[in-house]
Symmetry: D2
Subunit: 194 residues, 4 copies
Amino acid sequence: MILNEAIQEIVDNVLSVSEELEPNNIEEMTGMIKSSKNVFVMGLGRSGLVARAFAMRLMHLEISVYVVGETTTPALTTEDCLISISGSGETFSIISAAEIARKRGTNIIAVTSYVDSTLGKMADLVVHIKGRTKIDSEKNYITRQINGKHQSLSPLGTLFEVTSLIFLDGLIAQLMVEMGKTEQDMKARHTVIE
Amino acid sequence: MILNEAIQEIVDNVLSVSEELEPNNIEEMTGMIKSSKNVFVMGLGRSGLVARAFAMRLMHLEISVYVVGETTTPALTTEDCLISISGSGETFSIISAAEIARKRGTNIIAVTSYVDSTLGKMADLVVHIKGRTKIDSEKNYITRQINGKHQSLSPLGTLFEVTSLIFLDGLIAQLMVEMGKTEQDMKARHTVIE
Amino acid sequence: MILNEAIQEIVDNVLSVSEELEPNNIEEMTGMIKSSKNVFVMGLGRSGLVARAFAMRLMHLEISVYVVGETTTPALTTEDCLISISGSGETFSIISAAEIARKRGTNIIAVTSYVDSTLGKMADLVVHIKGRTKIDSEKNYITRQINGKHQSLSPLGTLFEVTSLIFLDGLIAQLMVEMGKTEQDMKARHTVIE
Amino acid sequence: MILNEAIQEIVDNVLSVSEELEPNNIEEMTGMIKSSKNVFVMGLGRSGLVARAFAMRLMHLEISVYVVGETTTPALTTEDCLISISGSGETFSIISAAEIARKRGTNIIAVTSYVDSTLGKMADLVVHIKGRTKIDSEKNYITRQINGKHQSLSPLGTLFEVTSLIFLDGLIAQLMVEMGKTEQDMKARHTVIE
């Protein structure tokens, strides 16, 4: 089925990104998260859902975390860090938020496909999560055309979004070990009202 | 215009509720809020929006507050209080949440039109916010019929919802004075990312 | 109690705004809403909650409505209208959204305290909802100082937000009559999953 | 790094689920989605974020879709289908919603790890997305203990949630082909206000 091919395309991207992650980079990211007073996460559209899914797990680890745009999110301070998730690194309100964060002395971590994007350049730390690049997209298009398949199986930002989610879930595992937290600890913080 | 009549109907309800509020009751509510480690607010539909609007101001007052259902809301504890906003006091998931809160030893404050509702009976403290009662609704219906107006100008839960919002904004003013907070203090906590 | 005074302050603003509403202006607003293919509403912070509360009632009236920023909100078209709620009329992302709406030929209705603000000037139709103006605020400050009360009882955007909500609920009553909808019709559209 | 191991654990689950998917089952699901007047999606916690991410793409495909709990979601009808995402299939409010859906004659599709759960039994169609089962969890525990690793690398519902997201993104690819939609078509529906 097309469905299985699409899943394979996503898995291939995830594994390729996983191989390229640099231990120093990751260590710096977990370090910033652990040493911040509050962690703020931000993303728009599906990247915003990825940000929220990550925030839930940070909360389970008893890290003080806020989602930009939710009801009880306070102002940024110099003791906080802002994790911005944006495939293009050019999303308008992500850039505006990063500008405010810089003025207020908040550390910025960018999770993006484009290290040289406006967001990438503004960030104190950049994690590169490859999605479908324009060049890939053209090459794939020709391959698909030859094979009689004319459309992408992971439309729009799908590859970046799903890969970011899995990367951040991996980071949660990393944080669990570094912080000596067990799944039982996390369950105790799990919201009980559903 | 119909619009002005509808506004007057809402204002009449607000003023009538304001007159009937009992100082002891209010003092107990602000006391519970100030002495809780975390305040949780909950409501469904438009009452949920009222809960959120209240939560934002509590956050501006530096009270630790969470909205049930948002991303980073943790589990309830015995040191917390849950403020449930429900006109009927019978909304299913509000009742389920109150049951969990009771099991976990969390104080419950009900904001409802029905003191004798399931929620009202479960709560440690009830604030009565009159909306359109069934009897009122019938009487109004006859008055309207006589005047040739056959429909309500504040449909569904409108009276309860708007009156609750204004009551809770009044409570914020009360808390500001009790806590010695100024508008400037609140501004400093206001989210800066928009 | 301070609480009753704060409620009175809000009610006074609501009644004063209600008196100043112009029938032509309101008629134009309900006309635009009824003739649009889709209505989009937008606001930030507590104004965003007001926008959502209004959107729920529009949905109950079977008007096709979307909240900007929610999951399933599509792109704007020339057949749609965008209702932007902003006290200052200068909120950054409200202005950016209005710019996009203009480029796409979407009608803009501004609900704001400042008719001459950037948003006010971009809009096809402006409804003026007075909040606490700077001058009012100073005058009130002196009155309060004389009376020994040094702080505002309706901090930040409270007056604008609550007054906008009640104005928009009045507009729903107006639309009900104009569209010949009853409360029973609205109940049938009410979400049943809670 | 632990992070890479955790990513591998997730990928293994995704590939194993992908292999076990039955074409008839998938065809029935895409059929129900295409023939429904409105599609409703529902999930709680991180499964709710997965539901929203799926809803965005359905909207891009011009399928009329609503997220249960969002502002403008109307009542269910006999012409609609409800897609409920729940790892355990026992989440309280998911079950309540499914009961209401059944009373109203709405088709139910369950995406769950437990085909025999309360939700699974109520559904008209069940898609099985394996997560960490209790037995797996014990076996893994022993393996981990032997290897000196005492905690899970994909805590709580992570495996189910991520695998469901990728499965549903695969389903979007399937629907694109079945409906003859291109990525360009989807871009045109993409929200332009950010």
